[in-house]
Symmetry: C4
């Protein structure tokens, strides 16, 4: 939604393209050759930045190549800062960008580098740059994946109420069973020493993850855990059923749109009945 | 079902609303502004009560803020007791409420506080108040979630027999494989020292939870475990298939009900187009 | 199939029912009051027998109530032996019962008790009696669950080839990835010390069970394990899709059979076309 | 695709079949009795070879039967080498085989044995022979499983974009949550000491495998882990929905193709009943 707004954000005065508008086209749009090249370059730098964050966390790289990482980090930071400034400069309404979801992510991922100059021991803070990876979705959004994404998002939106009910059942189940397990195992098992931990265990169990860092030891606890497992194993069918039925409905619509029989020559209505003799709108004989 | 009964439970004599009836409307109904406000207030207190139970179980809060928790607990207990009494007072047939599912939950969640005065060491007993969270479903039931809930419940009711068969297969499988594992691993592996524990392990494995607190050590045990895992991995498809097919059938009914617009008075053809003006078969104006 | 054979196995000579035939009706059929009572009694004894096996495995019961278990065990063994003999006596073709699936189970579940007299230390052998629980399916088969069971079995039979391909992919994946992990982790990780163990680990991982008794320690091993997990997480969709599509197809058939428009008065063919004017078989005007 | 190319690769000059062509028919085709026998023999040797690899990895067999394994290994290597040479000899365009997927696998699975003569300590290298099991798919491809396989592969191809989006969401989620967990737990929990390990943990959790070799210890870490588990538990519905809807669409096409019997020559109505003798609309004899 924000993206669409931004695109109509800038209507050039007359036909002559100013530098600002040309920059806008390159940075915000992706249907020109320059815009596409810019997007590919951006994806490359985002992936490079993410790789840097991941590798720098490794003891080996951190110890031996600290200097190189520092250099790459600063080059990337400067590049992304320039890009951020350019975005603000060339858009007509900067606020619509600055306070958008991706505007905040852009800012968040350049700030830590500057903060690391002021604050010491900000190694962990630099991790925040990984959020930059989310920007790839913005870039991908502008191409042919858009239609399919919308299709899947619509399926989820249609099932909003069903998903809410499903999540309510999940949360109530883990809350109640977590509390009951605290009641049953709390005094003999350290893993259930408080309700938040018991709820954490219930989520680990219901979702069939099952770390085993906490597991019941009493007979009653094992019985309740078994019930929770079977519940978790069975109700996974519910979100699956929801999404499946929405996707099938979406697919059918597509198929039916392809099927339709023709158009009335007189009023132009689409005729869906294959054996129609008269137009259902104007009564013209077909 | 119970709810519906309760709503028709009280027909006011004449048009003048007595205090008792007005109270009934506020507490049991939710279509008046006062009723809605009461419901929201109730949800707030239920969530507050649940939060109290969860936080109090934490060592830190329990040690440092014990007094505050005691105060909040008693205020909430008195409020819920007043509500419980009011419900009994204003309903025409109190038994229909007292012995209903939610009536019992209401009682169960106020009792522990009073019992804690008489009995010592009832810290764990107070956990029972968490059941109060179930009441949120009663409140939500009265709004637009109702239709969707029914839809999902109907899907499950339609598959009652299929689900029974599925659960029978699950229970027999874990019973038999649990016993066989006791036979195979019992004398070398402490985790399989009796059949109930072996069945517990079989449930942990079949549902793909896999804590790892009990795991096979012999070759034969590992082979049987592998078979059980693949079984569990494959038959998850069955409940999913059941729920999916029911949901799709339900969805189709909805779509078809929306589609079917009426019939032509002249030739009797069904008119599927909602905006049809002429019959598509005989051309008669509808 | 076997059941149906057995039912038509015995046609009484004339109308007078012999003792043998009356016994046959009670034991093998379930549509008479006596037959139903026999089935319920049998289910009760099967569940009691299973419960005995489960409880006897517990240290506490085994030590303290050994004598009572021995008594119950012998009473049940004698009862099931009498039943086994009666089944052979009253059926016309005893071989069709003796060598049937349930006939073998009946024999297997009475043998251990007699063997325990001859052989010492047969505690584990007695576990085999738990197989008796499978007989409940035979009893349930004769009632209304039959239709639904068949429905689900047919769905699986229709997908036979798809399921075979799916299982082949599973087995090849765990075989290859198990071997590769032996190659990668074998020399540093005891859990991958031979290929059978590595395959066991691969099954534990692919099916998302994840005990954690064996887990990769090298970077390469963790990377391969991650790939296997995502594979396992994604291809669970395949059996689900198979069963769902079969169940939906089955459901549609049911719905369509209910929809059908009527029958031709002349030749009796069912007319499925709602707007049919002539019978499609004999050409009679409807 | 490659297979089909190969089959049309060799057109015999005239009707007389040369030795080379007869060999080609036996090795590459499977519709002659000799071709079928060759395929069965090949499957037997492939399974024997795989079994050898698996058993040899076991300490017990490796120590006691080393010589026997060496002999079987060399016999199999020579057989597969002869087969490899024969394939190159009898095909018209050897390159199309040598550089095909299966050609490379054939070569890879005979090379290790020869390398083991030159290089010492190649015990682990021999594991590569297990790849030979993949060749079974080539053989199976040529029979009736082909149609069903294609059906499933088509379903996956149709959902290519949806699956790409799904995998992008998965990878971004594990990357971001893995990094955040490194930030949250890194300084207190050895399991999250670097981002690659945190990502590994995130995959283990999202896919609901849950080994438990790494698990969160802080409250915040447990909270984030819970969110990730619920995400993983819920989005499994997406690939399931994708595959289900594709399979149902594929199934419907099949059913519709079987259903449609023809059209009435007189009035042009479609006749859906396969055994129709008269048109259901105008009564004309078909």
């Amino acid at each position: 939604m924000i993206e669409i707004q931004q695109e109509s954000n800038y209507t050039p005065a007359g036909n002559k393209k100013t530098f600002k508008y040309r920059l806008y086209e390159i940075i915000f749009k992706s249907d020109t050759p320059a815009g596409k090249r810019f997007d590919l370059l951006l994806i490359f730098f985002i992936l490079l930045s993410s790789l840097t964050v991941v590798l720098e966390s490794l003891e080996f790289f951190h110890t031996n190549y600290s200097l190189y990482f520092r250099i790459v980090e600063w080059i990337l930071t400067i590049l992304f800062t320039v890009e951020y400034a350019a975005r603000i400069y060339c858009i007509r309404n900067p606020k619509s960008y600055i306070f958008s979801f991706y505007g905040i992510i852009d800012l968040l991922s350049i700030l830590p580098a500057y903060l690391s100059v002021v604050l010491a021991g900000s190694q962990y803070l630099l991790t925040i740059r990984i959020l930059r990876i989310l920007r790839i979705f913005r870039i991908l959004k502008l191409n042919r994946y858009l239609a399919e994404s919308r299709y899947m998002i619509r399926a989820m939106q249609n099932s909003r109420i069903k998903i809410t009910i499903f999540l309510s059942v999940i949360f109530s189940s883990v809350l109640i069973i977590g509390s009951v397990m605290y009641f049953v195992e709390g005094h003999v098992n350290d893993g259930f020493s408080d309700i938040p931990n018991s709820i954490y265990w219930a989520i680990v169990t219901l979702t069939t993850v099952g770390y085993g860092d906490i597991s019941p030891v009493t007979g009653m606890g094992k019985f309740l855990a078994s019930m929770l497992m079977i519940l978790g194993y069975a109700i996974i069918a519910v979100p699956t059923g929801i999404i499946s039925s929405e996707m099938i409905a979406g697919k059918k619509e597509d198929v039916e749109q392809k099927k339709f029989a023709g158009r009335c020559r007189h009023c132009g209505s689409s005729i869906h009945e294959l054996d129609a003799v008269y137009c259902y709108k104007c009564g013209t004989r077909l």
